[in-house]
Amino acid sequence: MSFLRNPWGKPRFLVLVTGLYIFWSLIPVALAVLFAFNDGRSRTTWQGFSTRWFTGASGSVFHDPALQGALKHTLFLGVVCVLVATPIGVALALGLQRWRGPGGGTVNTVMLLPLVTPEIVMGVALLLLFLQVLPFVGLGSTAQAIGQVTFTISYVVVIVRGRLVSIGKDYEEAAADLGAPPHDQLLRVLLPLLAPAIVASAAVVFAISLDDFVVTQYLSGDASTTTVSMLLYSSARAAPTPALNALATIALLITLATLGLAYLVYRRFATSDEAAAMAGVEV
């Protein structure tokens, strides 16, 4: 292992491992995307380029009701989740940041727990909650949205709090010294400064919602509440056509486009450290 002998020399071993790892981690997915464009039913033998599995007259994402329904429902849950989790999370981050006195530590810990709780535990817990305590809500879209909001709030808090720490208290105190009442400090000073973090957390919430599987599956009701992830799970082994790959490709592009846009917005307004944190280097 040459990097041990001379850490400032050419680390050939490290280059090799890293290169092989990146190849291994991305090529299978790249091939899955490629076969979404296959002009035949096979997902393993290339039969020429075509977009028939995206827009073709039969069995394509845009014409198969099951595939189309799953995509629509996934996007619907994503939008609802952003609209509910982002405001609650931003408010909670602000509240926790300035929370003095007892209770703050406990709330902080409980807020972070969904980030580390295995999803199946949350899935079972929410399933039993909706069956035993809130049967009038029942399983289905509402339960799915509530479940996703429950664990995405924490991501919003973490991202917004990171920005709050780097903003510091100076602006707020200046506003207070100039006689601004608390709600003006909040609405006219803090919120504009937080805007990039709010955009970033909304994008992260959307992406997590789109990719979520366990909680969404546990809280699903009838077939109309099937999401892209659930369809991938149920059809992957059941001799699917490349339309399944096409569906996954569309969802992937939407996720990456959302995050890419948010990253650009964030980089425009925040420091590079925070942008790196948003990209997931430090959760």
């Binding site: 990097f3 850490p7 680390p11 490290l14 280059v15 491992v17 890293t18 790892y21 990146i22 981690s25 991305l26 299978p28 997915v29 091939l31 899955a32 997902r43 393993t44 033998t45 408010a91 909670l92 509240g95 940041q97 929370w99 003095r100 810990t109 409980v110 807020m111 972070l112 727990l113 580390v116 709780t117 295995p118 999803e119 199946i120 535990v121 079972v124 817990a125 929410l126 039993l128 069956l131 035993q132 509530i146 479940g147 429950t150 709030i153 608390p182 599987f213 892209v228 992830s229 991938l232 799970y233 992957a236 082994r237 996954a248 969802a251 992937l252 996720t255 280097v281 430090e282 959760v283």
Partner: protein, 305 residues
């Protein structure tokens, strides 16, 4: 109105939400696990701790202690997770080390490629492997051509030609490693990137060999990152049911998650399922708090630095 109450008022919706949909939901697991079931084997939760029925919990624990089916599933889960964690660290550490120390002007690109899998749907990444490892898949053909398939069959790691997706523990371990490795590399990278280069140079100046400097400076300094990263990916692995379902779909590779899924979502006995979920959650509680404490102390260090 004091301004401190404005802030608490802001926290209120979040606190209320988490109280109902996280804490109360978790208490529902406890109440069902210590409850009973009716003649239709639907759960009847006992909300008052004074009424608790410990029968199902005791039966679950006995099943585990006395080597019942749950015991086998637990052991298998530990073995799979241990193998996958070791493999992930073996691959992830050099990659994170390269990204943090040697990537130079390629750093941005390398980081982007390392972060990318993070945001690709986990199920899609599994679908990609199902395509590759199906009997006529590209991966199966490749492994057969270069002789790996024959090697695995003769080493008894593969049951039959082209049978990679038919209940093979090796495939499940590989899929778990593939699935969770990106989540390990990022904390590893962060901890390696934070190490002050001058500390390593100091060790070298004081006569440490490069290997000595690595094992006595870099490795110990990156230990918090290693532990936090391993905990971070161990937690979802312990609750995984979809990976074995997708790349094996056989009870021969069932993990705890599969057992819980079968009992709860698929509904064969929600009370037993709740008891098993509770056992799993309590067993993992230590790891969960360890991770939260380690990230908090890292934050504190970053703030005081």
């Amino acid at each position: 109105m004091g301004s401190r109450w404005t802030w608490r008022l802001l926290a209120l919706p979040g606190v209320a939400w988490l109280s109902v949909f996280f804490l109360l939901a978790f208490y529902a697991v406890v109440a069902v696990a210590f409850g009973n079931q009716n003649t239709l084997s639907e759960p009847v939760p006992y909300w008052n701790p004074l009424d608790w029925n410990v029968g199902y919990m005791l039966a679950t624990l006995e099943n585990i202690w006395q080597g019942g089916p749950f015991f086998k599933v637990f052991i298998r889960t530990f073995v799979f997770v241990a193998f996958a964690l070791s493999l992930a660290l073996l691959i992830g550490y050099p990659v994170a080390y390269f990204a943090a120390r040697h990537a130079g002007r390629w750093k941005g690109l390398v980081l982007l490629l390392l972060i990318l899998p993070f945001w690709i749907n986990y199920l899609m990444r599994m679908l990609a492997w199902i395509n590759l490892l199906s009997p006529d898949g590209l991966g199966t053909r490749f492994l057969s051509t270069i002789g790996i398939e024959r090697l695995f069959i003769s080493a008894d790691l593969l049951a039959a030609k082209g049978g990679w997706l038919e209940g093979q523990p090796f495939t499940v371990i590989m899929a778990l490693t593939y699935g969770y490795l990106p989540f390990l590399i990022l904390p590893l990278y962060a901890s390696l990137d934070r190490i002050d280069q001058r500390q390593i140079e100091a060790a070298r100046d004081l006569g440490a060999s490069p290997a000595g400097a690595f094992f006595r400076v870099t490795l110990p300094l990156s230990r918090p990152g290693i532990l936090a990263g391993m905990v971070l990916i161990a937690l979802p692995m312990f609750g995984d049911y979809y990976t074995p379902d997708l790349v094996s779909s056989s009870t021969k590779t069932s993990m705890i998650g599969n057992q819980i899924d079968q009992l709860t979502r698929q509904g064969s006995s929600k009370v037993e399922g709740a008891a098993l979920t509770l056992v799993l959650a309590v067993a993992l509680l230590g790891l969960m708090f360890y991770y939260l404490r380690s990230t908090r102390s890292a934050d504190d260090r970053a703030e005081t630095a």
